[in-house]
């Protein structure tokens, strides 16, 4: 049997394999360079970029919790000027598909950043972060279907070349409504899930451990939630619309990735696991290939939503 086909497509972006990095867990590229060969990745997703540089929240910004961690980084990033000048050229050197994650406070801000990023040849697409729980107004776009459709549509107008991926928040009553809004707005793909809001209290100080009070929960503990939400969006919205899903949430090994494919994801992103094992995505790619071969599956695309029900 010939080697299994790992390639996938997210809108106009053709990607050599379905394993990507999750925004905010891999910097802008060079940081993990000494530890792993990032060129093997299907795609690399940058930290969120905003119009102006952001210092982010006061420390303590993270804490480990059972099977996961809370973070409230607060979108600390270099801003679009330095991203254009320094970070994008650095990321381009990785030698794989690069997606830039974009965040903002207003539709105008999202549009301004998207327009400039779409002009950077080295970037193959934009992931709209409408779901960051750690800035005061970050969630409104991700939790209000009308606003989400509007911000997506406005960004779509200026993203002429690259793929437009909308990243959904799990902190909503009905995620399928948000998925529909993003697709109506013109998204090429959906990515999900961003972190779940959480809180941890220091009982001796009687204070939240995270200076921001609340943080976003990530890691293996959110995986069952993510699998369920991916499956729900796939069955109710994405499958009929023909829109691919990038699944994420606690992926640590290839078994987790296969689970996401079966739930309905076309690609997967690895986040928190990178902190412990910068080479986890490479092991996951090898594991997926091996699984396909052993099970006689010709293409990873054949696994998408392939549950026996």
């Amino acid at each position: 049997m010939s080697a299994p086909d790992l390639s996938i497509r997210l809108g106009p972006a053709e990607i050599k394999n379905p394993v990507m990095t999750a925004s905010g867990t891999c910097g802008y590229g060079p940081e993990y360079g000494p530890y792993t060969d990032l060129s093997m990745l299907g795609a690399f997703t940058t930290k969120s970029v905003t119009l102006k540089p952001r210092k982010g929240n006061a420390p303590q910004r993270i804490v480990e919790t059972p099977g996961g961690m809370l973070n409230a980084i607060g979108l600390a990033n270099v801003g679009i000027d330095e991203f254009e000048r320094v970070k994008a050229p650095e990321a381009a050197k990785i030698g794989t598909t690069i997606f830039a994650n974009v965040a903002g406070h207003s539709i105008q801000e999202y549009v301004a950043v998207c327009e400039r990023i779409d002009a950077i040849d080295a970037i193959s697409g934009i992931e709209l972060n409408v779901s960051c729980p750690n800035v005061s107004d970050g969630l409104t776009f991700g939790t209000d279907a009308r606003l989400l459709a509007e911000v997506t549509a406005e960004c779509r107008k200026v993203i002429k070349r690259g793929a437009l991926i909308v990243k959904l928040s799990p902190n909503v009553t009905d995620i399928t409504e948000m998925a529909r809004a993003a697709i109506d707005g013109g998204a090429d793909a959906l990515s999900m899930i961003n972190t779940l809001l959480g809180m941890k209290i220091d009982i001796n100080k009687r204070r939240p451990v995270i200076a921001n009070r609340t943080g976003g929960l990530s890691g293996p503990c959110i995986r069952p939630v993510a699998i369920h939400l991916v499956n729900k969006v796939y069955n109710n919205v994405a499958k009929t619309a023909g829109i691919p899903i990038v699944g994420m949430g606690g992926i640590t090994n290839w078994q987790d990735a296969i689970e996401f494919f079966l739930a309905g994801a076309t690609a997967v992103s690895v986040g928190t696991a990178l902190f412990t094992h910068p080479d986890a995505p490479m092991r996951i790619i090898a594991g997926i290939e091996d699984f396909l071969r052993k099970n006689g599956v010709a293409s990873v695309r054949d696994l998408v939503g392939a549950l026996n029900e």
């Binding site: 905010g24 867990t25 891999c26 910097g27 940081e31 993990y32 530890y35 930290k47 210092k55 982010g56 420390p59 303590q60 910004r61 993270i62 804490v63 480990e64 099977g67 996961g68 961690m69 973070n71 980084i73 600390a76 890691g219 293996p220 606690g250 640590t252 090994n253 290839w254 078994q255 928190t272 696991a273 990178l274 902190f275 412990t276 094992h277 910068p278 080479d279 986890a280 490479m282 092991r283 996951i284 790619i285 090898a286 594991g287 091996d290 699984f291 052993k294």
Partner: protein, 292 residues
């Protein structure tokens, strides 16, 4: 090491990259579940990264407390005190156990020129990087003295070959420093060992006894101690470098979790956040904005 509150481990590893005092390693405080360095050559059973489900998720940062090379083989000393699950796991390691580390990480101490006189100051588990720095300084032929502070005698993780003096006078009392020709003053908050009081009590009298000496201060320990050391160094216009600690996830500049507030003239409001794991952990105290 005589103190039962602390643990000390020597990690043997092949081909560890060049490292310097002040740098640290990220230790996975769980048994490694895979052994295969090259993912493309093995079958899927062996490429299982499942450690994250096993309890402790994130690596824990530890300063390199000493490092010896024998051919390809490198021995790295770490020392710590049990404060939670990660350090408890380390404390329970037996000789021959396998351990997974990443490193070296962070920016090291910058050594002064040979005319300088180094004053090392360590508090509690701030000892490891200071001990290794002492070794490096003595190799460079730089005159070096050390002050070590703890709350009480039972928390002094040093091998005392003779009782330390109870006045601020250096003596070769601590084997860990004496082996490099470095004399030490020990301070304890309750006076149960060495000088009664904080490290700054000894630091002040050393500085006052040696007016005009080209002292360079290097310190590691609890942040309030470092802040006090920094302000005393500033009052006497002495250069001072400190190794800071922050809660870290990645340890290599990707997650932005480990920020330290530093002065920055180019910033509109005069400060910015630096990453403790990559720009630090060693900072020049003139750069650190301690106020909050």
């Amino acid at each position: 090491m005589p103190c039962r509150e602390h643990f000390e481990l020597t990690i043997c590893i092949d081909d560890f990259p060049p490292a310097e005092p002040g740098q640290f390693i990220q230790v996975l405080c769980a048994s490694p579940t895979y052994r295969t360095p090259n993912a493309s050559k093995v079958n899927s059973e062996a490429i299982d990264v499942r450690t994250a489900d096993a309890g402790i998720l994130l690596r824990r940062p530890f300063s390199i407390g000493g490092l010896r090379r024998k051919g390809r083989r490198c021995e790295i000393d770490i020392m710590g005190r049990v404060v939670g699950p990660g350090t408890a796991w380390l404390n329970a390691r037996m000789p021959g156990d396998e351990i997974d580390v990443l490193g070296p990480l962070g920016s090291p101490f910058r050594l002064p020129d040979s005319r300088a006189h180094a004053l090392l100051i360590a508090g509690g588990v701030g000892l490891p990087p200071i001990r290794w720095l002492g070794e490096a300084l003595s190799r460079e032929g730089i005159a070096t003295h050390a002050i070590f502070g703890a709350q009480t005698e039972s928390l002094v993780p040093l091998t005392l070959t003779k009782p330390p003096t109870n006045i601020a006078e250096f003596s070769p009392c601590a084997a860990e420093f004496a082996e490099f020709g470095i004399e030490t003053i020990i301070t304890t908050d309750d006076g149960s060992c060495g000088v009664l009081g904080r490290v700054t009590v000894a630091m002040r009298s050393v500085i006052e006894q040696n007016p005009g000496a080209p002292l360079h201060v290097f310190a590691c320990g609890p942040e309030p101690m470092l802040e006090a050391v920094a302000s005393l160094a500033k009052a006497f216009e002495l250069p001072c470098q400190v190794a800071l600690e922050r809660v870290m996830a990645c340890g290599m500049g990707t997650c932005q979790s480990c920020v330290v507030k530093v002065k920055d003239d180019r910033a509109e409001d005069g400060w910015r956040y630096a990453l403790c794991c990559s720009e630090g952990p060693v900072f020049d105290t003139n750069d650190v904005a301690w106020s909050d």
